[in-house]
């Protein structure tokens, strides 16, 4: 076999892959989604920073934290490093394009330090060692979670130590106006993302006797755990700012709505042993609304609307003998 190696000058492999995935996931209107993101994100960032100068720190920190967290846990990282030409370049370009609308927004608001910080972060990120936690973590906490809620058990294991650090930070900074809420929102997103993987049908059938039973148990159990995670932060934040009690309350309801939505969406689309990555976009939309107190009604409405479909889908696996 001839040894002719053709390596791209510009490492666009991952970017082209993402466009392919976007086109295939949202045929017909992927361009609209992309245009909205490219236009809306800079405007939102600029308006937020201009309205409150502290937002530059929150937004840049949150964005960096989110991307670092994703890099640490992205499922294709080993694949990229092993098989894709110019892996560091490909990752860097992907992150830079992801950060571009945010950087443009900061630039529009003259927050040039934040532009630099995000830019530096996206470049340095690919050289950051990936923590590959070996061993079982948070055993005591995991043992307290019922077996039925294996998603939550897995979430604690997979997100250690980041989720724990975020929770501690939220508690430590409970006296700040928005940061603890934002960090709690990040925890919600982390936990909601654990509901992407579908168990085998055999595992589903031994977990409960029927669709309604499993859905109700999963929702109730997950909400309980989320409440236990959120409550210390929200209570501490309310003690620090008593006049914000209603904001914290509505925010908490919003986060619970997002978790309920994640559970329902999982079982609405449930296919044994599949990974439902497409649900992430829907949950993200719901989560954005849940950030703003009062607008949690949207994810709640989404959850209530899809509950029937989740039950219908689950019924197929509980009762159909030829499915």
């Amino acid at each position: 076999m001839a040894l002719i190696v053709s390596v791209p000058v510009f490492p666009t492999t991952l970017v082209r892959l993402r466009l392919t995935q976007l086109r295939r996931a949202y045929p017909g209107w992927w361009v609209v989604l992309l245009a909205i993101a490219i236009i809306a994100i800079p405007i939102v960032v600029e308006k937020l920073v201009v309205s409150d100068s502290n937002m530059r720190y929150y937004l840049s920190g949150a964005f960096l934290l989110a991307v670092v967290g994703w890099h640490q846990r992205r499922p294709d990282l080993r694949f990229v490093r092993k098989h894709i030409a110019q892996p560091n370049g490909s990752l860097m370009l992907e992150y830079l394009l992801l950060a571009l609308p945010v950087m443009i927004g900061f630039g529009m608001a003259n927050a040039w330090v934040e532009v630099g910080a995000v830019l530096f972060g996206m470049i340095a990120l690919v050289f950051m060692p990936v923590m590959d936690p070996v061993g079982t973590h948070m055993r005591w906490l995991r043992s307290r979670i019922p077996a039925l809620l294996f998603e939550m058990k897995a979430g604690l294991q997979r997100t250690y130590p980041f989720a724990f650090v975020i929770w501690v930070l939220a508690l430590a900074f409970c006296w700040l106006p928005a940061l603890p809420l934002f960090l709690t929102w990040v925890l919600t997103m982390i936990m909601a993302s654990q509901f992407e993987e579908c168990e085998s049908r055999a595992m589903l059938l031994v977990t409960a006797s029927d669709a309604r039973s499993i859905l109700n148990k999963k929702i109730a159990g997950s909400l309980k755990i989320m409440l236990l995670i959120m409550a210390p932060v929200l209570i501490a934040a309310t003690i620090a700012r008593p006049e914000w009690w209603w904001i914290h309350g509505l925010f908490g309801l919003g986060q619970l709505s997002v978790i309920a939505l994640a559970v329902i969406l999982k079982y609405k689309e449930y296919i044994p042993n599949e990974r439902l990555t497409a649900n992430g976009a829907t949950i993200a939309i719901g989560a954005v609304f849940a950030l703003l107190p009062g607008l949690f009604l949207l994810p709640l409405l989404m959850a209530l609307t899809d509950r029937r479909k989740a039950l219908e889908n689950l019924d197929l696996y509980f009762h159909a003998t030829d499915h």
């Binding site: 076999m1 092993k82 098989h83 990555t277």
Partner: protein
């Protein structure tokens, strides 16, 4: 020659790989066998350049061996959601061997125009194999390549590996399925607790199974006798 020096790997306190010095003849097929936890995948990762100890040296034909001159077929393969087989293969930018890959696929029969999400386990494994063949590196590491393959596909894989060796490629294969391994490997190396215990040449392959299961059979007999 592929020469290894001071190749070690530890997870915390536990040393999972300890190879002070070992050599492999290049241009041949080498089987790596061992029970679960013996260090086979760790060894392949270390050959590939991942997780090597700092003072380890792996030299292939007088050049450092790493991921630039090696292709690795992992036991568990990652596939991006929402893409077809063709789009997956396009990620492997090695060389222009479209004709070769299409030719090999005549035997493997992977429906490259379909979404990977519709593939069976065997099809995904074959697709992953096509990907690393496309890279056309001098050294190939195949970790449990026969997992998920039907009998016909295993035969095709055997033929592919033999052809690779004819083209002076060096192939390392790990497998729990001894039959095909014995059929295609020039040497099979027994790995236990991260160390190479013994190398079996073709004429000694009949002793392999006994050596592999010696301790296990003894422990199994004792335990089964006690509990059942």
């Amino acid at each position: 020659m592929l020469q290894i020096t001071d190749l070690t790997r530890s997870y915390g306190e536990k040393e999972v790989l300890s190879i002070p010095s070992f050599g492999f003849v290049t241009g041949e097929v080498h089987g790596i066998v061992g029970l679960n936890g013996s260090g086979k995948t760790t060894f392949l990762n270390a050959l590939y350049g991942f997780g090597r100890s700092k003072n380890a040296r792996v030299i292939y034909e007088n050049m450092p061996m790493d991921h630039t001159n090696t292709a690795f077929l992992e036991a568990e393969n990652y596939f991006y959601p929402g893409i077809t087989g063709h789009e997956y293969l396009a990620l492997f930018q090695g060389k222009d061997t479209t004709t070769t890959i299409d030719g090999v696929n005549e035997l493997l029969e992977v429906p490259l125009d379909e979404l990977i999400s519709t593939y069976s386990t065997g099809m995904r494994k074959k697709l992953a194999l096509l990907g690393i063949l496309k890279l056309d590196r001098p050294v190939l590491l195949l970790d449990e390549p026969m997992n998920g393959l039907d009998l016909a596909a295993v035969r095709v894989l055997e033929a592919i590996v033999r052809k690779l060796v004819e083209h002076e490629r060096t192939v390392f294969i790990t497998s729990h399925v001894l039959g095909p391994l014995i059929a295609i490997c020039k040497q099979i190396h027994l790995l236990q607790d991260g160390m190479f215990l013994r190398t079996f040449e073709q004429r000694e392959m009949d002793q392999l199974e006994a050596a592999l299961f010696a301790d296990l059979d003894k422990r199994t007999e004792e335990t089964i006798g006690r509990v059942m």
